[in-house]
């Protein structure tokens, strides 16, 4: 079979498998991974009224995975009456982060400026993280909407990382690393991460060493978190399609190996 054809067949198979799985309704409980529970318990232990920085360190492309994670976390924050302060290290996280906070705040009748705030984007992430550690008001003289931040009740008493409980980095890439290596290492601010599944293993050493307080990831992590807070959402949907797609990839690996073995045996016979 030529390679262009086999590629297209593999593509078509994935399309069909996922589409079919999505049209079948599915429900059910999932096993909650310990790391997801750890993040849940960390947020649950924060006293109401405390400010926490929520950093939207992702782009629009990762939304399918990021959105359920962010929504579950923001809902938990608002339910516990925490005061999330939104920032973004990537330009595209800005609009998305603001929209997500807006949406969840509405669900819990929270008022902008009092119960939460959104400061927006600063380019050059390392510089942004370090300069917030020296002074948040100097880094963000005004919020995303152009209001001077000293007029926002939500920002009262917040000048450096010492005045917040921690940073919750919602990331689709390595931005959380920079929070750990510059924010935590230098200013000692606790870092928790909610990241795409792909990124999760790269943060394992930081979790193991205590440089991160908690870490969860992926659509699956979002589904687990939704189960913990008892609010269904995007994570729980699509889980069947997710599992089917995993099995599809495993099938591809097995078929690829079988074909290769057969070809090798045939070649071996010819040479004998």
């Amino acid at each position: 079979m030529n390679s262009a054809l086999s590629r297209r067949l593999a593509f078509a198979g994935l399309f069909i498998a996922v589409t079919v799985a999505m049209l079948i309704p599915s429900e059910g409980d999932v096993r909650v991974a310990p790391e997801t529970r750890q993040l849940y318990e960390w947020i649950d232990s924060i006293p109401p009224g405390s400010q926490v920085i929520v950093s939207f360190d992702h782009e629009a492309s990762a939304l399918p995975e990021i959105r359920p994670l962010a929504l579950a976390l923001l809902r938990h924050c608002f339910e516990r009456d925490l005061v999330p302060i939104g920032v973004s290290l990537l330009a595209e996280g800005t609009g998305i982060g603001f929209a997500l906070m807006d949406q969840t705040a509405d669900e819990y009748d929270k008022t902008y400026g009092e119960d939460y705030a959104f400061l927006g984007f600063k380019p050059q992430f390392i510089a942004a993280i370090l300069s917030m550690g020296e002074s948040i008001p100097a880094t963000y003289p005004e919020d995303y909407l152009g209001t001077p931040i000293d007029s926002l009740p939500a920002m009262v008493g917040v000048t450096t990382y010492d005045d917040v409980v921690g940073v919750l980095s919602i990331a689709d890439g390595s931005m959380t690393t920079h929070w750990v290596e510059y924010g935590e290492a230098r200013f000692g601010v606790p870092i928790a991460g909610a990241v795409t599944a792909a990124m999760i293993t790269s943060y394992d050493p930081y979790l193991a060493s205590g440089q991160m307080v908690a870490l969860m990831g992926g659509l699956r992590g979002a589904a687990e978190y939704e189960q913990l807070i008892g609010i269904g959402g995007g994570g729980s949907r699509g889980l069947l399609a997710q599992s089917v797609s995993h099995l599809y990839v495993l099938a591809m690996i097995i078929i690829g190996n079988l074909l290769w073995w057969r070809a090798r045996r045939r070649k071996g016979k010819e040479s004998v």
């Binding site: 990762a62 050059q124 300069s131 293993t201 394992d204 193991a208 599992s243």
Partner: protein, 207 residues
């Protein structure tokens, strides 16, 4: 002079930034803040302008030459339309600028990202062969991880999730930690070389 002065600046700024790390003194903090916010961020913004002008210029040249004219024009229209929309309607929720982001940029980006799912499938079919012991180990670890995180209708093998978690927290984490240490050292020595002035690649030509 054309090479000396930049090198002096690098060494001076680098040393200052290095030293203020160890100080919590208000003066040190102010210096830190000035360099990080005023210098770093503002200079970056100007380099972006340079990049954008370069992009526009090279596209215009190619339009004149006639290669891919239509597509170059599409790019330029896209590029110019965003600042214009921002000027007209601002950048807050509900503005045309945000509409463009939500309905043009974001869906396309997410779809380019989604192409990856297909490339993963074809790479799995073509590339992952148990050719050698290391390759077989890679495949085994991948299989355990994937199976542990797929439960169709609640059906999973009982010991699988815990095994997968143990692998991730121990052997896998250990290798990642060693890579982290190694890259940390690599970054450290490169940074030191830049400050000392041994590393001059970034300076480019003599002219």
């Amino acid at each position: 002079m054309r090479r000396k002065l930049p090198q002096i600046i690098v060494a001076a700024v680098g040393l200052i930034m290095f030293l203020v790390y160890f100080s919590g003194h208000p003066t040190a903090q102010r210096v830190n803040q000035t360099i990080l916010v005023d210098y770093w961020q503002i200079i970056f913004a100007f380099t972006l302008i340079v990049g954008v002008i370069g992009f526009a210029r090279s596209n215009l040249q190619q339009i004149q030459r006639g290669d891919g004219r239509f597509f170059r024009i599409v790019s330029l229209v896209g590029l110019v339309s965003m600042p214009i929309l921002a000027l007209i309607g601002g950048i807050n929720a509900g503005s045309p600028f945000v509409w463009m982001f939500d309905h043009v940029q974001a869906p396309m980006q997410a779809t380019v990202f989604a192409l990856l799912a297909f490339f993963v499938a074809s790479a799995a079919l073509r590339g992952f062969r148990a050719r050698s012991v290391p390759a077989a180990i890679l495949l085994l670890a991948a299989t355990i991880t994937l199976l542990a995180r797929s439960d169709v209708g609640g059906a999973t093998i009982a010991w699988l999730p815990e095994t997968a978690e143990w692998i991730r927290a121990h052997p896998s984490m250990a290798a990642r930690r060693a890579i982290l240490i190694g890259i940390g050292l690599g970054s450290l020595t490169t940074s030191l070389r830049i400050l000392i002035g041994i590393e001059r690649t970034w300076l480019g030509s003599e002219r």
